[in-house]
């Protein structure tokens, strides 16, 4: 199984004055790919000739690969800290829908 995140964040203003509320909204998805294998067969295929004669064809078993791709929604992981390495780190609050964070400039 693989997960490829394509997530971006955007500030709600190009710049902020001291005391402004800074809001960052995230958007994007995770593309989840699951690859599984399974057995196909063995098969027995009956066939008939134009004169009515009948027989069967036996196909041995084989292994097949099945790939499932799903696009999954992404939210902020509230179990891990937001890391702010600015000279004046801020306290960031996560919104209820877990799609944005806010702090005071």
């Amino acid at each position: 199984m693989t997960d490829v995140f394509n997530v971006t964040g955007a500030y709600d203003k190009p710049s902020y004055n001291g005391g402004d509320v800074i809001k960052v909204t995230i958007s994007g998805t995770d593309t989840n790919t699951v690859v599984t294998t399974g057995q196909v067969g063995p098969l027995t295929v009956p066939f008939v000739a134009t004169n009515g004669a009948k027989s069967t064809l036996s196909v041995p078993k084989t292994t097949a690969t099945f790939t499932t791709v799903a696009t999954l929604p992404v939210t902020i992981d509230t179990t891990l800290p937001i890391v702010d390495t600015s000279p004046t780190p801020r306290t960031w609050a996560v919104s209820a829908d877990k799609l944005s964070i806010t702090a005071v400039a």
Binding site: S15, G18, D77, T79
Partner: protein, 319 residues
């Protein structure tokens, strides 16, 4: 390697002093651009992180990080560093390595240029060009990590170039250098200089290489030029030719009073070339250890420099 305590350090222009320890190797180090890292989780429990630049916070009326550079523009990697299509606009790009503008009417805006250690400069402007605009561009040099033995440049106006640098944020370089052309530098923030061990630090250097061009002009308007290393914030001298048509007006010029020499030079002592039509007006300054200005005729046969309206940034006293 950087300077060590007790080492005699050449501060440029024949001025040397004993270094009192402001430049230890440790001080040459610098923090990487600070970032905001947000953990994210998918519906299936898979985790990743989203990393973004710090928000831009405004701090005042002089150009600073909040008013310059690419700001919060979302950047994509550039596919070429050779900007050679006349009239083209290049915007929203992250360049790594030396970027060269070699066509007229090119606009480079809202971009980031990150230097490699071997780069002698980050943004070169080459040839005879007109109407080039470099606006809201952030240049981050290699700083202490440069492989240059002296100054790596931020921008380098190599040819005879008509160019306006507007609202650019330039750091981790030794100088920004100008040869020739019609150059305007306005609303820019040049700061946190770091470069090779032999660097004479100057936020902007012009040494008279355009002296044979009767149409040369250099206009430095409303910038913050903050040099906390040796030498100067603004340096004009007749190293290579005559100086003519230079205006330094309404800038915040800051030099280190511990390591810097003079904040602003217009020095005629380097060769027998004249210095004419130079105006140094209405600037706010903080002095280097030797003072605010070195305005010196020296060897210049003619020395015409107008100085007025300048003042100390903190006390507001005329200087």
């Amino acid at each position: 390697m950087g300077c060590k305590r007790g080492q005699v350090v050449d501060y440029g222009c024949g001025v040397s002093k004993l270094n009192h320890g402001q430049w230890d190797d440790e001080e040459f180090s610098y923090e990487p651009y600070s970032m905001l890292t947000v953990p994210v989780i998918a519906a299936n429990g898979a985790r990743s992180t989203l990393t973004m630049p710090d928000p831009v916070i405004s701090t005042g009326s002089w150009p600073d990080a909040s008013t310059t550079g690419y700001g919060n523009t979302v950047l994509v990697p550039a596919t070429t560093n050779s900007l050679n299509v006349p009239g083209a606009t290049y915007s929203g790009l992250h360049f790594t390595g030396v970027v060269t503008i070699s066509a007229s009417n090119v606009t480079l805006s809202n971009c980031l240029i990150t230097a490699n250690p071997a780069d002698p400069w980050s943004l070169g402007l080459n040839g005879t060009l007109t109407e080039v605009v470099v606006k809201n561009v952030t240049i981050i040099g290699a700083g202490k990590g440069t492989l240059q033995s002296s100054a790596a440049y931020g921008f380098y106006v190599q040819g005879n170039v008509g160019v306006t640098f507007d609202a650019c944020d330039i750091s981790q370089v030794g100088q920004n250098a100008i040869n020739d052309g019609n150059i305007v530098v306005k609303n820019c923030y040049i700061h946190d200089l770091n470069s090779g061990p032999g660097t004479h630090y100057e936020c902007i250097y012009y040494g008279g290489a355009g002296g044979t061009n009767p149409n040369f002009s250099l206009d430095i308007e409303h910038n913050t030029l903050n040099n906390q290393r040796n030498n100067a914030a603004m340096y004009v001298a007749n190293d290579f030719g005559a100086i003519n048509n230079v205006t330094i007006n309404n800038n915040l010029l800051i030099d280190s009073n511990a390591a810097g020499s003079f904040t602003c030079y217009v020095d005629g002592a380097l060769s027998a070339h004249s210095i004419t039509n130079v105006a140094v007006t209405n600037n706010a300054l903080l002095p280097g250890q030797y003072g605010y200005f070195l305005l010196r005729q020296g060897l210049a046969p003619v020395y015409q420099v107008t100085k007025s309206g300048n003042y100390d940034y903190i006390t507001k006293a005329p200087v």
